[in-house]
């Protein structure tokens, strides 16, 4: 065997991070580049469903079978990212009985454990379900945190020697003598962890092989080498509620349709989704009708949603792919299966394979197949271990702990912290000094924020996805400045200010779609806190120098406290 091959993986979503982990565990040299934060693309914009496969049990049985297999694997290797909520496919009176039966037999055919429960039983499980729901099928759906999962995959890859570069956009593929030999990337703030305000620069990364795992962006990477990769991006909206109206995944039991799923996720419930083909994965309309449809349609299953508070909405883009000869008109008809496009075989351009299509639940399996494919290229005989080795955070993890004594944290905060950190809890939460709560909505303490900063540099959005800080009800209204202050121990003030502004703007972006009722009241409060009290909209640090001498410098400046004259010696009269 010659020297270790160096593989460049493009894309820091679940697929890319899964591939990087797999290849690194097999002993290859890996460099992963991602244009934004980890999960910046499709992965960070999903509904958080760990599929049982039930959803595809009628329409796409191959995908369904893969889902149930991987569902079992992830429960094991990523236990700290998964909440096994269980799922229900519920049938309303107007929904087809025939389809209900098909769903049931489909689940059986794919090996998905499924049971019929009556309407009463379903309501006993989930009291807020509509009174007229006839019956349901229970399946092992779960909720999964895509951010935590990808960060854990990247951390594991790093432990095995991989280099992970975020905020590093691929600007060109290097093609020499008819072969892909590497990439050119533009680092937003230089290589390594992101530091706001730092000079970036371009880097040539030479590689023995390139894996294009950019999902909806795959066509763009292909264009750089004159390849035609026909990804059909399809957008979908997700609307986040401020509480969990249900603790079970609720699916509507009818053929594919918009607004047919509610996933309980951490402190929220996520309503989804739509399926609309778009031209550009980064620039597409985010529309009011989509949000309204989520609420109106899903209220048929859970009536209280109609009046409930939503904290934001976000859109994701599915990287759908179908072989050129299929030609579906409707994106909902396109298979959810994934494809390896070996550009040597397909386009006579050796040195690169693209992986397209597929879904989050099967990310590990996709990683395994492409890693097998890469190893085969180099004649490397190394087994895949990603299905057996737990991710960092999920090793020997049990949540039966006494946080109060252990970490001096109030119980709900301790419980949430330990659930997020899994087996890393001891390392992260054992501190010398006091460990106050920074984000009250999500129960995130200073120690957890500091741990995230170590992992992600000056990027508060990266801290956010690692910890959930600023992702609760107040959407950063109360904690953004605290998160910024946590950066200040490590970074200079201008760097902190830029990261802080970026976080505020990101939080605003999704909230705009939830601006009515309670959330508009919250947004108005946040606006007042940030603009009125903190004057961040007119922050003099960002503007022209002020003439301080033109303003009031106090009534008896110089020396004694201005109000001491009004205060009786016994403190009887008091100044404010």
């Amino acid at each position: 065997m010659g020297p270790t091959p160096h593989i460049a993986v493009i894309g820091g979503g679940s697929t890319g991070a899964g591939i990087a982990r797999d290849l690194a565990m097999r002993g290859l040299d890996v460099t992963l580049v991602e244009q934004g934060n980890l999960t910046h693309g499709t992965t960070g914009r999903m509904h958080g469903l760990l599929h049982s496969g039930g959803r595809y049990a009628v329409s796409d049985q191959a995908s369904a079978t893969e889902c149930i297999e991987e569902n079992r694997v992830l429960r094991d290797i990523a236990s700290h990212c998964v909440e096994m909520t269980g799922g229900l496919f519920v049938k309303r009176p107007e929904d087809s009985e025939e389809y209900f039966q098909k769903k049931l037999s489909g689940c059986e055919e794919c090996g998905i454990p499924a049971e019929v429960v009556s309407g009463e039983e379903a309501r006993a499980m989930e009291p807020h379900l509509a009174k007229d729901i006839d019956k349901a099928i229970s399946v092992p759906d779960g909720a999964i945190d895509p951010f935590r999962l990808v960060v854990a995959n990247a951390a594991s890859a790093q432990e095995h020697g991989a280099r992970i570069e975020t905020h590093s956009k691929v600007t060109d593929l290097l093609v020499e003598s008819g072969e892909v030999v590497g990439l050119e990337v533009e680092h937003d703030s230089g290589p390594g962890k992101r530091v706001h305000g730092t000079e970036g620069g371009t880097e040539e990364i030479r590689a023995d092989y390139v894996v294009n795992a950019t999902g909806a962006w795959a066509g763009r990477i292909g264009d750089m080498a004159g390849l035609d990769i026909e990804v059909r991006p399809s957008k979908g909206v997700m609307t986040i509620m401020n509480i969990r109206q249900v603790d079970t995944v609720i699916n509507r039991c009818r053929p594919k349709g918009d607004a047919d799923i509610v996933v309980p996720h951490e402190t929220t419930a996520i309503l989804g989704t739509t399926d609309e083909e778009v031209e550009d994965p980064e620039d597409y309309p985010e529309e009011q009708w989509e949000v309204d449809m989520m609420i109106d349609t899903l209220s048929e299953l859970i009536p209280m949603l109609d009046e409930a508070r939503t904290i934001r909405s976000f859109w994701g883009v599915r990287p759908l792919y179908e072989p050129p000869d299929v030609g579906s008109d409707d994106p909902t008809d396109i298979t959810r299966d994934f494809f390896l496009l070996d550009h040597d075989e397909r386009d006579d351009l050796p040195g690169m394979t693209s992986i397209v299509g597929g879904k989050f639940t099967t990310y590990r399996m996709m990683g395994e197949q492409i890693s097998d494919h890469v190893c085969e290229k180099f004649g490397i005989d190394a087994d895949c271990r990603t299905a057996d080795e737990p991710l960092p955070g999920s090793e020997d993890f049990s949540v039966l702990r006494d946080y109060m004594d252990e970490f001096g944290l109030r119980s709900p905060i301790g419980r949430r912290s330990v659930e997020r950190l899994g087996s890393r809890a001891d390392d992260v939460l054992t501190t010398d000094g006091p460990n106050p709560t920074v984000c009250e909505c999500e129960g995130v303490t200073r120690a957890e924020i500091q741990d995230a900063i170590k992992g992600s540099g000056s990027d508060l959005n990266a801290v956010r996805i690692r910890t959930r800080a600023s992702m609760g009800n107040c959407q950063g209204g109360f904690c953004s400045h605290r998160m910024a202050s946590e950066l200040h121990s490590e970074y200079d003030e201008p760097v902190v200010r830029e990261a802080w502004d970026e976080l505020l703007q990101e939080r605003w972006k999704g909230q705009r779609h939830a601006l009515w009722g309670e959330q508009l009241s919250q947004a108005a409060l946040n606006y007042a806190l940030h603009a009125t009290t903190q004057n961040r909209d007119q922050d003099p640090a960002d503007g022209d120098p002020l003439d301080f001498s033109a303003f009031d410098s106090g009534r008896g400046q110089a020396g004694s406290s201005v109000d001491s004259a009004d205060v009786a010696a016994d403190g009887g009269t008091d100044g404010y």
Binding site: A541, P545, F551
Partner: protein, 424 residues
């Protein structure tokens, strides 16, 4: 049999309190009812009049000078600049512990985010912290307090170009409070000056705090703390600390829960009580009778609807934050009397894409005539005997202008005074 008064003020924030106070001082029989905790607990306690024009010019040195050029819809234009001054005089008289009345010029105050903001009146506790005061400054943060990171605030202040050297240090607060202790716990410890253990010795809390700061002090002439220096005795606490440290001591205004905001609320309630108004808090107005005039309102108390009647009414229920203006997916409304709130029909026109864009929602509220009487969609009075005050009013963006307290005080004063004149 209804509970009767000449003037009934609905709302217990800055607008409602000023309104009730103005009416009571006019000699009217006033009753104030409020439902929830007011938004003063979320406010810094600073009293802004006008820091920036609606076009974003500023910080303004003289807020009064800019008022005549504000748009016609602005509440200041409805009451006039003279009324703004009179209203502030009432405020100065009612709350003697505030400073800033010695000049028309705005002050620049540091706040807990590390930026500075223009304001017209500030608590005595903040007065030694003015940014135009050139004395070097030490800021002291508490390790357990995530809302006030002194080194970060100092560095941010420095970036604003303040004319003094500023440094931030962090201490452990004496007395072993738990990491997530509320600001009121710190305040209470200092209010009571209870003894705390310091290296095995019992020392009064104020002295213990000063002892923690003393070794950190270099040659700064003033020391700023987060706004936690007492709820009942802030002046005495500041003096004690100042005496121990040999420097001026000030508080930096903070976000919620804000002690300066709560102290201001207490001061205004005390002044209102002294003026002889009757006050009922904790119960909502749920209904009313009347077509052209409001005959009576109903206050829900322990499940019963208690009628309250008055000659004149003042609506001071707040804006979106205080829930005096509400919205749903279909529109924006005023929930007590269903007064017309002009707004765009498409809710995607209510906001801008930029965080600090020119948001329409920030200006939503009831529209009034120059007498502060709410107008319906055809510009007719909603009710002959109703006036509105404070952030339930539309036509201005208090957060961008830094005009919130000033508008509440000025319109509260005008509405209260006119209601009293009308009723007598």
């Amino acid at each position: 049999m209804a509970i009767e008064s000449e003037v009934l003020v609905i709302g217990g924030g800055l607008g409602g309190l000023t309104s009730a106070l103005a009416a009571a001082r006019e000699g009217a029989d006033v009753r104030l009812v409020s439902y929830k905790q007011s938004t003063l607990r979320q406010a810094s306690g600073l009293v802004d009049v006008l820091g920036y024009t609606p076009d974003g010019d500023g910080p303004l040195t003289d807020p009064y000078e800019a008022i005549p050029s504000l748009p016609d819809s602005h509440p200041y234009r409805k009451v006039g600049v003279g009324t703004v001054r009179d209203a502030l005089s009432l405020f100065d008289d009612a709350v003697p512990t505030y400073e800033g009345e010695h000049t028309d010029t705005n002050a620049l105050l540091p706040t807990h985010g590390g930026s500075i903001k223009p304001t017209a009146r500030y608590p005595a506790g903040a007065s030694a912290g003015l940014a135009s005061d050139t004395r070097d400054t030490l800021l002291v943060g508490i390790e357990e307090m995530v809302d006030f990171d002194a080194p970060h605030i100092a560095a941010h202040l420095d970036a604003t170009g303040v004319p003094f050297d500023v440094r931030g240090e962090t201490i452990r607060f004496p007395g072993d409070l738990r990491a997530d202790a509320k600001v009121t716990r710190y305040a209470k410890l200092l209010d009571t000056n209870s003894e705390v253990a310091v290296r095995g010795r019992m020392v009064p809390a104020r002295e213990a705090l000063a002892q923690r700061v003393n070794p950190l002090l270099e040659d700064e002439q003033r020391v700023g703390f987060p706004a936690i220096l007492g709820d009942d005795n802030p002046g005495a606490i500041r003096d004690a600390l100042g005496e121990h440290l040999g420097v001026d001591v000030f508080e930096v205004p903070m976000g919620p829960p804000s002690l300066p905001g709560l102290r201001l609320e207490d001061a205004l309630f005390a002044a209102l009580d002294e003026a002889g108004a009757s006050i009922e808090t904790g119960n909502p107005v749920v209904d009313f009778d009347g077509e052209d005039r409001i005959e009576q309102v109903y206050i829900e108390k322990n499940g019963a609807k208690i009628p309250n009647s008055a000659d004149e009414y003042v609506l001071a229920t707040g804006g979106f934050v205080g829930k005096g203006v509400e919205s749903d997916r279909d529109g924006v409304y005023e929930p007590v009397f269903d007064c017309h709130v002009p707004h765009a029909t498409d809710r995607y026109d209510w906001f801008e894409g930029e965080l600090f864009g020119d948001h329409e929602f920030a200006r939503y509220g009831v529209a009034t005539d120059d007498d502060l009487r709410p107008l319906d969609a055809s510009d007719n009075h909603e009710f002959e005997n109703l006036r509105a005050a404070g952030s339930v009013l539309g036509g201005y963006d208090f957060a961008a202008e830094k005009s919130g307290s000033g508008v509440s005080i000025a319109t509260g004063y005008a509405a209260g005074q006119r209601a009293a004149e009308e009723a007598r």
